[in-house]
């Protein structure tokens, strides 16, 4: 029990966008604010929440803080959803099939 609810962490849309950006690049807190109508402290707090959940990692360099995604942080979610795949209709087993479905 980490005491942190990953579902609550990911329930915030801003945090999900942040995570998406950090999946491919390493960015500073200021870089990340671009595109958001959000104050610096607000972003700082979101990053703290994501970090506490193990979803991002931080690299300090002077006065800059570089963040990037920590994919292993999604393991609890992966684990959670995996338990339900036993009941899964086989057609949504693969991403390919899922995308086909979504096109309809």
């Amino acid at each position: 029990m980490s005491g942190i609810d990953i579902f609550k962490v990911l329930a915030d849309p801003t945090r999900r966008v942040v995570l998406e950006r950090l999946a491919t690049t390493e960015l500073t807190a200021t870089d990340l604010r671009e595109g958001f109508a959000i104050s610096q402290p607000a972003m700082s707090h979101h990053l703290a929440v994501l970090r506490a959940a193990g979803l991002i990692s931080e690299r300090r360099e002077g006065r800059f803080a570089y963040y990037r995604m920590a994919p292993e942080g999604l393991a609890p979610l992966h684990y959670w959803i995996a338990r339900y795949k036993a009941f899964w209709p086989s057609r949504i087993d693969s991403l390919k099939d899922l995308l086909k479905e979504m096109d309809q």
Copy 2:
């Protein structure tokens, strides 16, 4: 865009327990209250939220409402997490490996 945020829906621990119970059995709203210190309207509301998200289905029979899980409702979550598996360390690819990791 369904307008419903599945992450917010699943962010509530009570709703996750409800979902877990409904994965294996079909139960009525009253049955589901067992084990929860929760009022009948509160449970009714949770069920409405889960239903709106497509996570459970309802079968009416007289004055009873039987609920059960609708696994396809998890497809959006499956889809979301799948996008990150590209960045995934291979060791958390399978549930077996994940469980091994969690034992440590």
